[in-house]
């Protein structure tokens, strides 16, 4: 059995590792000169920055991605963050994320516990946003700000743009898998280890090679044309999102075409800082609900000092994009960092922004279409086709798991 995979991003590589381990002959085509997509390292002035995602695995060594990496035998060490997350309060104090309820009055605290328990069991309707879900029960500025900070950090969206239902799935996963971790060697270590697995199983990865067309015969995908040759395949997995995939064949399913056009890519800004002294001091997520734009920050060198030159720290902030004026958004982010780290010395290494054709997520949470396509033997994975309640790369892993189940490969 032969599998062709379009795109060597995390979803493509996870699929390739899984399929090659199950005995498939795997061939991956990546149009860029390097593998990993938006989960790769970017060497910059001696620092290991990242192409897209932060050097972080939302559910650490216990989550779906870590589970898949173990299953395929990818040698990746994930350092679980302790504390998992900290919240910077308005008065400059810091509290552990797990203790956020202690900031509420006793009545609100009990109410929140009851409502969470109820809503996790009976999920709200899909048209209710997470912000409106909070407002339905609470009039509390801290809760709203924390929701925006969390949604901005984890999904690059504001709480008003995330369906409450999806957020409660995420909360379920947080109870199940717990907090975050950092892969030693950064994002690139994860995608690199997956590529090693694929190659050791006899699979091929071509970089700098585009797939031009998906060949379909009697509503079944049966191959691709790439670099002026035709490659027959029993299974085709696309890691480039539904919209780009549909451009590679003549799609006649109008309902599907309509659905995929509704997926909204999410926008975000990452600011990479270098400092001699630690700015945060631990590797957990540093949530900043009271900042103007920054949603959260991570000092990854506390988990892996090798992500920066000796004696340096690497700090990465993330913010969702609120207005159409990107320069203004970046400047507000930089101003936030100045305030958050006032009195501390640091240097801005690189400002990276993501949107449209190279977004944070091809389908923002709640607008995911899933892995199914109208063509038999053709599946879509990656951040345009995440699993339910999956934050970023965890969602990518959950999506790949769904496809493997569908194909009949035991996960």
């Amino acid at each position: 059995m032969k599998a062709v995979i379009i795109g060597a991003g995390l979803g493509g590589l996870l699929s390739g590792a899984k399929l090659s381990k199950a005995g498939y002959e795997v061939e991956i085509f990546e149009r860029l000169p390097f593998i990993g997509g938006r989960f790769a390292n970017l060497d910059y002035r001696g620092f290991k920055l990242s192409t897209g995602a932060l050097h972080m695995i939302p559910h650490g060594s216990r989550g779906p991605l870590a589970q898949m990496l173990r299953e395929v035998g990818a040698g990746v060490t994930i350092v679980d963050s302790k504390p998992a997350a900290v919240i910077k309060m308005n008065d400059d104090t810091e509290i552990a994320f797990k203790d956020f309820q202690k900031q509420l009055s006793l009545t609100k605290n009990i109410k929140l516990g009851t409502i969470l328990l109820y809503s996790r069991k009976f999920k709200p309707k899909n048209d209710l946003s997470f912000k409106d879900w909070i407002l339905k029960y609470f009039d509390d500025d801290f809760l709203l700000k924390l929701a925006d900070s969390f949604c901005g950090w984890a999904l690059s969206l504001r709480a008003k743009d995330v369906p409450a239902q999806e957020m409660l799935e995420i909360i379920d996963n947080m109870y199940l898998y717990k907090g975050s971790g950092i892969p030693k060697g950064g994002c690139g270590a994860v995608t690199g280890a997956l590529a090693d697995v694929i190659k050791s199983n006899g699979g091929k990865i071509h970089t700098g090679e585009c797939v031009d067309k998906i060949i379909i015969d009697k509503e079944k995908a049966c191959g691709v044309s790439a670099s002026e040759r035709t490659i027959d395949a029993d299974i085709i997995i696309s890691d480039i999102g539904h919209l780009e995939t549909v451009r590679m064949y003549d799609c006649r399913d109008e309902a599907y075409s309509g659905r995929i056009n509704k997926a909204r890519p999410s926008k975000g800004i990452k600011i990479c800082l270098s400092s001699d002294e630690p700015l945060i001091g631990h590797s957990g997520v540093f949530f900043t609900p009271y900042a103007e734009r920054i949603n959260g920050i991570n000092e990854v060198t506390n988990a892996d000092p090798n992500l920066a030159p000796p004696g340096k720290h690497l700090v990465m902030s993330h913010q969702t994009v609120i207005s159409d004026d990107l320069n203004q958004e970046i400047n507000l982010g930089l101003l936030d960092l100045k305030k958050l780290f006032s009195g501390k010395k640091y240097e801005v290494l690189l400002v990276q922004s993501y949107s449209d054709g190279w977004p944070v997520n091809r389908a923002s949470s709640g607008s995911d279409i899933g892995n199914w396509t109208p063509v038999q033997n053709l599946y879509v994975v990656g951040d345009g086709a995440k699993g339910k309640g999956g934050i970023e790369v965890e969602g990518v892993a959950l999506g790949v798991m769904n496809v493997m189940k569908e194909i009949g490969i035991i996960v």
Partner: protein, 52 residues
């Protein structure tokens, strides 16, 4: 090099530029160090860069 409107500012070109000739702030732009070697073209994920 010419950068068109599809540039999102991801900075990949800046990291791969052998001449440290690309500044990124919401969008990529080349400075005077650019020798038009064209390396950045291949590394741009949205095909936003072209030779002049």
């Amino acid at each position: 090099m010419k950068v068109n409107n599809t540039c999102v500012g991801c900075g990949q070109c800046a990291a791969y530029c052998p001449y440290d000739a690309i500044i990124v702030f919401g969008r990529a732009g080349m400075n005077e160090k650019c020798i038009e070697c064209g390396t950045c073209v291949r590394y741009c994920p949205v095909s936003a860069i072209a030779e002049e």
